[in-house]
């Protein structure tokens, strides 16, 4: 069933700044929708058992959760057009409950779809070049990237053409569709890691060699979950032409040696940890040397064609400073705070990058109503060349906004409860859905995020605290990235009750680290108080504008543990 009757067209003057499907892509996705429609029909008439059907629905992103099915929609490298965002809103209204949840993998999840409606939803997605393929299962998942790709001032090269190449390479790859376990790849082209590349099975960092040629630093074996590991560099430099072949070699080694007897030891991080990076490097290099990789040799013309899809939009030539912006900041303090906190430097003079926080005080991290999705779609058509990004921090980015337009944009966002000025601050909390939705969860995570957000609701206090990443997971699978939060919270079950383990010292950047456990678990009620004590101690001890993680590294973990002892919360209680 088509929903072409919906008004989904972006404005005519909005150039496409992302990859557009060619006929091959369109046919592939349409065929998959038709295939799944038939599989659903056969499931409903009993031709397929649940055991037979389950792998098919998972391959199409459809899970069964606590209250309903859940559909995970892929947003490759987190880039969305206004047209696609509108379609996501339409689907939320027509087949779900009027909202969606943006995830830490730059995807979108619908929490209430019906199995019988899913083929229609997938068809509606296909009409705007979207799908849910490989958002589940033991395959290469949706490739993620820096959400400031193409616009960041610290960028060597836009990582999205590479990510798109990887999407095409990995989609329905016959050799890697049944890996020992799921496989996640992240790409960054900047000197600051906003894509948590060291926490992925493969992290790719665009670098230049001594000759100035752009290639890739390849990192493997990172990952969170039950056994967290920081990735290790397997090769400092892989030329662009050899990237796919080199990745193919890594995947072959993993496919051959990765454990299939124990799902908890099946990720490549365990293989790297058990065998050692030197052994794995030797195996990969041997495979790479032996393989005939002419088939994987990157065609420069094809890369150029793909890269052209991500060409910069037609920026105007503008002065770097905007008097209009300066005047509005002086007149409207709330806007001034928004600019200070949520607006980032753009590589083009006169433009800015705007982070739209999906973390209103006491709100549900990552949730957006269909109305808010439409506001964002309209806003980026009006102010940002029709393009949006989803960050792994569960926020939305408008990557190309004229400084002159920032005040008008802020007013639009504010009217839709989308102008919370907390990007990167203590209330900009990453949180998985937890036990409020997820069948794997052992505890709720959203209410914890809400309580912490409420505790720090004074925005002036948040600004005084500065950048501080709190990340919350509702189970050991760590979808909320708690291991790499400066403050991490992990929800577990303890004696039939929800219990929360707090970690300190996690870092998602190039100086990545895994957080250390503070002590025994605490109850849900205690979490905000414990965090407040830690933050107060940090404020008392920090040097100048020193970040929380740096203070923690300087003082050491034991000093932070001592804080809680002094507050009388040590011992058996925490």
């Amino acid at each position: 069933m088509s929903i072409n009757n919906f008004n989904t067209l972006s404005r005519i003057n909005s150039p496409r700044t992302t990859y557009q499907y060619d006929e091959f892509d369109k046919d592939f996705v349409r065929e998959r929708v038709a295939e799944f429609r038939e599989q659903v029909r056969r499931r409903l008439d009993g031709s397929l058992t649940e055991e037979e059907f389950r792998p098919f629905r998972l391959m199409n992103g459809l899970y069964l959760q606590l209250h309903a099915y859940m559909l995970r929609v892929a947003i490759p490298y987190g880039t969305l057009t206004s047209q696609q965002m509108r379609r996501l809103a339409e689907i939320a209204d027509r087949w779900d409950k009027g909202y969606g949840h943006f995830t830490t993998r730059q995807n979108l999840q619908y929490n209430w779809p019906k199995l019988i409606d899913t083929p229609d939803i997938l068809e509606a997605l296909a009409e705007v070049d979207m799908h849910a393929i490989q958002t589940s299962g033991n395959c290469i998942r949706n490739v993620t990237a820096d959400h400031f790709a193409g616009v960041a001032a610290d960028e060597i090269e836009d990582p999205r053409p590479t990510a798109e190449f990887l999407r095409q390479w990995s989609s329905a790859h016959p050799e890697f569709s049944f890996l020992p376990r799921k496989f996640k790849i992240a790409v960054t082209g900047a000197t600051h890691d906003r894509a948590a590349t060291l926490a992925h099975d493969i992290g790719l960092r665009l670098v230049k060699n001594a000759s100035g040629d752009v290639g890739y630093s390849v990192i493997i074996g990172g990952g969170l979950g039950r056994s967290p590991f920081i990735g290790k560099v397997i090769r400092e430099y892989v030329p662009r032409a050899e990237l796919l072949a080199y990745l193919e070699a890594i995947m072959r080694v993993y496919n051959r040696y990765g454990r299939r007897d124990n799902k908890y030891k099946a990720r490549i991080k365990i293989l790297v940890h058990e065998k050692g990076i030197e052994t794995i490097r030797a195996a990969v290099e041997k495979e790479f040397a032996a393989m005939d990789y002419t088939a994987f040799q990157q065609d420069p013309q094809e890369f150029k064609r793909v890269a052209a899809s991500f060409a910069p939009p037609p920026y105007e030539t503008l002065p770097s400073e905007s008097s209009k912006l300066a005047k509005a900041r002086l007149e409207t303090p709330a806007f001034d705070h928004f600019v200070s906190v949520n607006v980032s430097k753009h590589k083009i003079a006169g433009y800015a990058i705007v982070t739209v926080s999906l973390k209103p005080i006491s709100g549900i991290p990552g949730d957006a109503t269909s109305h808010q999705m439409r506001v964002l779609a309209d806003a980026c058509d009006r102010f940002g060349f029709g393009e949006l990004r989803v960050s792994h921090e569960q926020n939305i980015i408008l990557p190309h906004v004229k400084k002159d337009d920032l005040f008008a944009l802020w007013q639009t966002l504010d009217a839709a409860d989308l102008a919370t000025a907390n990007a990167g601050l203590v209330s900009d909390i990453i949180s998985c859905p937890g036990l409020d939705y997820c069948s794997l969860a052992t505890a709720r995570s959203i209410p914890i995020a809400q309580a912490i957000s409420q505790r720090f609701s004074d925005m002036a206090r948040q600004r005084r605290i500065g950048k501080l990443g709190i990340k919350i997971s509702g189970c050991i699978n760590a979808c909320g990235h708690h291991h790499i939060g400066a403050i991490g919270v992990l929800g577990l079950e303890k004696k039939g009750q929800e219990s929360y383990q707090i970690t300190l010292g996690g870092d998602p950047g190039f100086s990545a680290s895994i957080g250390e456990i503070l002590g025994p678990g605490v109850s849900a009620d205690q979490v905000p108080e414990v965090i407040e004590h830690l933050v107060d101690f940090y404020l008392a001890e920090r040097h100048e504008s020193e970040a929380f993680i740096d203070t923690w590294r300087r003082l050491g973990h034991a000093r932070f543990k001592d804080v809680l002892r002094r507050e009388g919360e040590d011992g058996a209680d925490i």
Partner: protein, 107 residues
């Protein structure tokens, strides 16, 4: 087989829409208060047998027994917080799930 310690009800997800359902005296019910309560190992086995039959008949999926206590009104109340969540809906969205239709607050 685990030892029977508490009364039990059988719950599952409806195949077509994924909604949580409870085995009642007249088939699968959306309201947990209509769930049939097994008060012995033998009664629990009867519920399980019906569940397996309906699973094979492609009516429900993800079927299992859960421990409950019985309220003064005679209704079952799950003992574990996970199932307390399932009979209601998300604790952070009281406008969604079964609780949106007036089921009593169990959070």
């Amino acid at each position: 087989m685990t030892k029977f310690k508490h009364p039990q009800i059988l719950l599952a997800s409806n195949l077509k829409d994924g909604e949580v359902v409870f085995l009642g005296h007249n088939g699968w019910e959306k309201d947990f208060r209509l769930a049939r309560i097994a008060k012995s190992q033998e009664e629990a086995q009867i519920l399980e047998t019906i569940g397996k039959t309906d699973y094979s008949a492609n009516i429900i999926v993800d079927v299992y027994l859960t421990d409950v206590e019985i309220t003064d009104e005679g209704a079952p109340r799950p003992l574990h917080y996970r199932e307390k969540m399932r009979i209601k809906g998300p604790s952070v969205r009281l406008d969604l799930g079964k609780q949106a239709c007036g089921a009593p607050d169990e959070h």
